[in-house]
Point group: C2
Chain length 148, copies 2
DNA sequence: GTAACTGCAAACCTTTTGCAGCTTG
DNA sequence: CAAGCTGCAAAAGGTTTGCAGTTAC
C-alpha cells in the first residue's frame, strides 16, 4: 500500500488509511469507477472502507482537484477517476460499457469560435463518444444510428 | 391544447390527455427539462398530471425516439427535450445553469478518424460546453479553468 | 371488451448527513 | 490536544414499481 503523504498534505488533507486505499484503487484501475465499485473492490481485498467514507473521500478529492467526476448517461451514477491533468475523452461502448480513453481533442478551435460568436466564456467541456467497441461489433450487429 | 394523435399512433402509443400535455410543455419550452419541472409546470396551469406518469411518459417518449434524455453533471438529474432530429449541442452556464443551444457540430470529421484509428463503431456522441454566459460574466469573475 | 394508461402509495437506489468515537499532525 | 476522519444508521432526493381503477381504440 502506497502512501500519498505529500500529495494529500499539499492539499491540506490528512494522510489516512482510507484515503490511501481509495486513491490506490483509482490509480491501479486507471478508469472511471463508481463509489460502489471502489467500495466493492476494497471489500474484496479485506481492506473494507465504509461506503459513506468512500463517497466523502472521492468528493473531497474532486474538490481538491485530485480526482475528476463524471456522470454517465443511462444509469446516472457518478464516476470518479484520477485527475492526470491531461485532456482526455472516452469512447463508451454501448454494449459492454467499457470506457476507452482517447488522447487528443478536436475541440479547442471550436471553443474559440464560440467565444467570439456567442460571447460565452468557456471554461471546459465534456465529450463522450458512443458506439460499439471492436469486440462487441462481432457479437452484435442490429444497432442503429442514434441521436445524442 | 394540441393533439398529437398521428404522431403517437405512428409509434403505437395511445393518444391521451397526459401525453398531449407533456409533449406540449416540452415543445413550448424548447429546452431540456427535468421530470419535476414538467410536473410543476403542469400543476401551475391546473392541468395536473401525476409525477410517476410524467416519468413513465417521458421515458416512453425516449424509447420511441420522440424525446432525448440527458443527464446533467453536477446535480445528476435527468433532463428531457423534444427530439428535433437535428444535431445540436449546448453551452451550459455554470452559474445560472442555463442551457444555450448552438447549431453545428465540429465532431463529424473526428469521428471518422476514430473509426479508422481505433476500430470503434461510432453511433453518436454527447458534447457539452461549460462556462459562463454573458449575463453571469458581469456578476462573477473569480472562476478558474476547470478540468472536465 | 381488452389492452393500455393513470394515480396513488410504497419501494428502490444512490448519495448525503448527524452524531459519537477514533486518528492524525 | 484539537481538528479532522470514520463508521454506523438514518434520511434525503430522484426515480421506479405494484396494483386497482379508468380510458382509448
Amino acid at each position: 500500500m502506497t502512501s500519498y503523504k505529500e500529495l494529500f498534505a499539499g492539499k491540506g488533507l490528512k494522510n489516512t488509511k482510507s484515503r490511501n486505499l481509495i486513491y490506490d484503487i483509482l490509480n491501479e484501475t486507471g478508469l472511471p469507477m463508481t463509489a460502489e465499485q471502489i467500495f466493492v473492490r476494497l471489500k474484496e481485498t479485506n481492506k473494507s472502507v465504509n461506503l459513506s467514507t468512500v463517497y466523502r473521500t472521492v468528493e473531497l478529492f474532486v474538490e481538491k482537484g485530485l480526482v475528476l467526476k463524471a456522470i454517465m448517461a443511462e444509469d446516472n451514477k457518478a464516476m470518479f477517476e484520477i485527475n492526470h491533468h491531461e485532456h482526455k475523452h472516452y469512447l463508451v461502448c454501448l454494449n459492454c460499457k467499457e470506457m476507452i480513453p482517447v488522447a487528443g481533442c478536436p475541440l479547442d478551435e471550436y471553443e474559440k469560435v464560440l467565444i467570439d460568436r456567442m460571447g460565452f466564456d468557456v471554461t471546459g467541456h465534456k465529450f463522450e463518444i458512443y458506439g460499439y467497441c471492436k469486440n462487441c461489433q462481432k457479437l452484435n450487429s442490429e444497432h442503429k444510428k442514434e441521436d445524442f
